[in-house]
Symmetry: C2
Subunit: 257 residues, 2 copies
């Protein structure tokens, strides 16, 4: 996706290609996370104390990571959304001056805290190697967690581009729905059940391919690297609905001056 060329970014075929490619990133990262135990202590605020910081160990690590990544301009890119936007540091690189592609309020559409909660409470239990704790692996586990979270966040917030493209394609239809604050109408307008089915089918194929070691294909060690059904369920239950939530949130404000 070349954000320097706005006309290509809002082409729905290009958006689709970007979303398909992002599935791989999400899946690769979930497979990496699946190597580790659940280790739920990482997400427990009462088990982590650093002076001047309130939050879980994972929150602390995300904050530190985002500070550095802000320094290298991650959050200037229109498709990157921080989990802790108030903690970011100033970039050390010159600004990129991305052309305007989305409506001016786009950075305010940020459901990362909801994504983080669903990830730690629902998604991790589905993919982790087992339910226990690995205290010596807090570091490795949180490194995987932040990569999963960033990949999921980017995928879900890409709904802003989907929404903007659809709005530009059918401006009159959306204007009316937005003026009427007709949320079920907007949801119906942005939903394409056939495409959603295709996503889930493609994802199942990808898990079948990426989730096992091909050299073990005919051996007994066929358990795979990740719970196959989990990945499809994660998309069906959370990724697709949350993307639509982002689309709706974005569209509802689209007529702001």
């Amino acid at each position: 996706m070349d954000f320097m060329k706005p006309e290509t970014v809002l082409d729905l075929a290009n958006i689709r290609d970007a979303l398909v490619r992002m599935e791989d990133t999400v899946l690769f990262n979930l497979i990496e996370r699946a190597q580790f135990y659940r280790t739920a202590d990482i997400y427990n605020e009462s088990l982590f104390t650093v002076p001047g910081f309130h939050g879980s160990f994972l929150d602390w690590f995300i904050t530190e990571q985002e500070k550095i990544q802000a320094k290298i301009r991650r959050y200037e890119a229109p498709d990157e959304v921080p989990f802790f936007p108030d903690e970011l540091l100033k970039p050390i690189l010159p600004p990129v001056n991305y052309p305007n592609i989305l409506a001016p309020y786009y950075k305010e559409i940020n459901i990362n805290l909801e994504i983080k909660q669903i990830y730690t409470e629902k998604i991790v239990p589905l993919v982790a190697a087992c339910d226990g704790q690995q205290p010596e692996n807090w570091g490795s586990t949180s490194v995987c967690d932040i990569e999963c979270l960033q990949a999921l966040s980017r995928r879900i917030h890409f709904g802003k581009f989907v929404a903007e493209a659809k709005y530009q394609q059918e401006t009159e239809r959306y204007r009316k729905l937005i003026l009427d604050k007709d949320i079920p109408g907007i949801e119906a307008a942005i939903t394409n059940s056939a495409v959603e089915e295709l996503i889930l089918e493609r994802l199942k194929k990808k898990v079948d391919l990426y989730g096992v070691d091909p050299s073990l294909k005919w051996s007994q060690k066929q358990q795979g690297k990740i719970n196959k059904d989990a990945v499809v369920q994660i998309y069906k239950t959370w990724v697709i609905p949350l993307t639509k939530k982002v689309e709706v949130d974005y569209l509802l404000r689209r007529l702001e001056e």
Copy 2:
């Protein structure tokens, strides 16, 4: 790999499983890097200036990243090797107290600067989407770079465990070779050409599976996400020989008091 149980770590079958699993991590990361241009400016020391820092933009980013990761104990783990060991910060988590598995000097076996040079000069040109520059993607590209470098470094330095396991298996044979400083003899003793062939064959299968979008299988868009031959070449030309270099470096000092 459970470093809390030394007896399992030095079992060659477990080491093999760990190395097979690491192939996926290396491959996933190379596929992510392949989305971006070469952008060689990132690696050019003369194009990056930050007061008090000497090095390329990538060097700066690796240093910042390693500082944080040291805080979460990454470099206490016996299989993690820093690129800039003099810049690390103290962990904020309590020490893990890993049991001794390797010889006491194991942290001094560190060929990361050589790995970084080969990666930036030889490997990136083979995997990057094209030879040009993407100034707006310095950040994303360097994020992929550090993940590739860490995955390659971990894989290559795992040679220390291979070497220790082989030494314990055939102590007398290696003692004699080490006392004679017989480097070609050590190289011959640690080389198993049949296993190397198997690695390359398995890798080719993995690239065939992970490197294309399965839903595009019968379409014209079959160019794949990464140059397939490149991955096998990277293992054959650098990963396997550098792993053996680590093994030899480690073994040559094995009789130190």
